[in-house]
Amino acid sequence: MSNNLNELALLLQKSCSSQQWQQFTTYQQQLKESHYALSNLQIILASLRRKVGSQSLSTSIDIDDGTVKHWKTDELARVYCILTTQYYHSHCADALLGQLYTQGDEYEREAILKGLWLLDPKGQKSTLAIDAARTNIVTLFSAIGQLNPYPARHFNQEAFNQLTLKTLFLGLDINCILGLKKRLNSSMSRMCFDYLRERIAANRAIPTSIWQAINLKHTPVAEDFFIQFLQNKNPQHHANILSSLKNQTIPATILSVLTKSEKKHLQAIPR
């Protein structure tokens, strides 16, 4: 853990101005030395955005089979402060995350969700995360649902499927759900197919990534839609369907509408 902390601190330092970094280290000193008090930590966390700014990180780093990327400096600073508190005051670490999350504003909550795979590596706070994924605040939802390793690691199947469907529903890209391919299951496939049917029936725009969550093995009735959207040549639908087919056994009807190079790409040339 302390190795991780060093790397994260370095990343933050590189992404901050020297004045911002100095303000941050003052807080750090307070957190290390002070007797633990939730209210102190909360006031520090709430003020961090004004101290270290909210700019993009200068680079990204890989830690614990995940990548710290697409975070802002305030988010990194907040996660870092909570990690150090967990580290130096381990006796109160248990209740800490829940309290900080519930009593944080949306920016603090987003930071906790983005860093949850580091803050809660064992998945003990999955209930909190699953509940967070019920929000209609798109930015908050994205913090847990997009480019975050936590859901694939710690959500149960029902919650993971809901997360996928809600991602489509909010107009977001399910390609950004990490571990989707591994977690694809028959009920997810069925739910997404039903959503696809509804959208088509209502004559509404179809999320172009939806194909990634439909497997013809589980939902053979989706075959006609695959063919229809392969033929209509919208490049985004096309690319997503091809990418989805890559992991599937492809029925002959679909093979017949693929070009030679597409078949080759899918390594699906019939013998």
Binding site: I43, S47, I137, I206
Partner: protein, 299 residues
């Protein structure tokens, strides 16, 4: 023309209002914490209310291209339940540290009771400790006495008057505030309080410095478009656009800017920019954009 609405209770307004406000040129609002209209049954309801002000309502406003800030405080009407008020005072500090909170408020007198005075004073101390400005509500009844006691208390606590806006002023009470250094707030209502025409008269008589205008729209009969309407009235009365923007955009922002958490440069139309969060994907793809594209923005 761009406008800033420094006192409006959006939680009790509909999305139609947000749409009309954005269309009329309002690009930022301050939502002061106020009372619920009926007695609260526990301090927990304050937590949910404050959380809505710093979370859900801010998001809701952003969906219509409006920046949302708030002030947090225990309203005088709700200060008279002493046991509950004591609990609320304890939870205030953690809110006063949050980013979107640009002042303590609305605080002040309503019935002008001892309990109101006690919690008003305690919150002025909190404002001092957190270096935040204060939005002071003046009572609807016994207004002159309420305003006098307000100004006396500010002096007694030793608060810098520059950090205070005294709100809901009228032709009589403004005279009490004019030489104190405090900012002067005016709520323009459809019927009671202030009208557009009376507001213009005040601007003519007292000038435009430190003058602030709001609608104070809430769940009662009120009009969240009063700020733009005063703008129109000012133009009709011969003020130029610079003067209109000074009173109806810059003044209120500059007052709240003393918190260090808002500045004129920050108050632009927000874009829900998902790509900013996740630069590798065009996140809101497939959904008709909620906010107009940057190119279509005015001002």
């Amino acid at each position: 023309m761009k406008y800033f609405e420094p006192h409006v209770h959006m939680i009790s307004r509909t999305t139609d209002d947000y749409e009309r406000m954005a269309a009329a040129g309002i690009i930022g609002v301050v939502e002061p914490a106020f009372w619920q209209g009926q007695p609260r049954t526990s301090a927990g309801t304050f937590i949910d209310y404050f959380d809505a002000l710093i979370g859900w309502e801010r998001f809701r406003a952003s969906q219509f291209g409006i920046r949302h800030y708030c002030t947090i405080g225990l309203n005088p009407k709700e200060a008279n339940n002493i046991a509950m008020a004591e609990e609320v005072i304890k939870i205030l500090p953690r809110y006063l540290a949050k980013d979107g909170v640009v002042a303590v408020g609305e605080v002040g007198y309503d019935d002008i009771s001892n309990a109101e005075e006690r919690f008003f004073a305690e919150q002025l101390q909190l404002a001092k400790a957190f270096e935040l400005p204060v939005l002071v509500h003046t009572p609807h009844r016994d207004k002159v006495k309420g305003t006098e006691r307000t100004l006396a208390l500010i002096k007694e606590i030793g608060l810098n008057p520059e950090m205070v806006v005294v709100d809901h002023l009228n032709e009589i009470t403004i005279d009490l505030v004019i030489d104190t250094g405090c900012w002067k707030g005016h709520s323009v209502y459809p019927e009671t309080k202030m009208s557009e025409a009376r507001m213009i008269e005040l601007l003519k008589r007292y000038g435009t410095d430190k003058m602030i205008v709001n609608s104070a729209a809430d769940w009662g009969v009120s009009d969240p478009l009063k700020v733009p309407k005063v703008g129109q009235a000012m133009l009709a009365a011969g003020y130029d656009t610079t003067e209109v923007e000074k009173v109806l955009f810059e003044n209120p922002i500059n007052f709240f800017a003393q918190s260090g958490r808002i500045a004129i440069a920050d108050v632009t139309r927000p874009l829900i920019d998902q790509t900013q969060l996740h630069e590798d994907n065009s996140a809101l793809r497939g959904q008709s954009p909620i906010i107009e594209a940057e190119a279509e923005q005015t001002s």
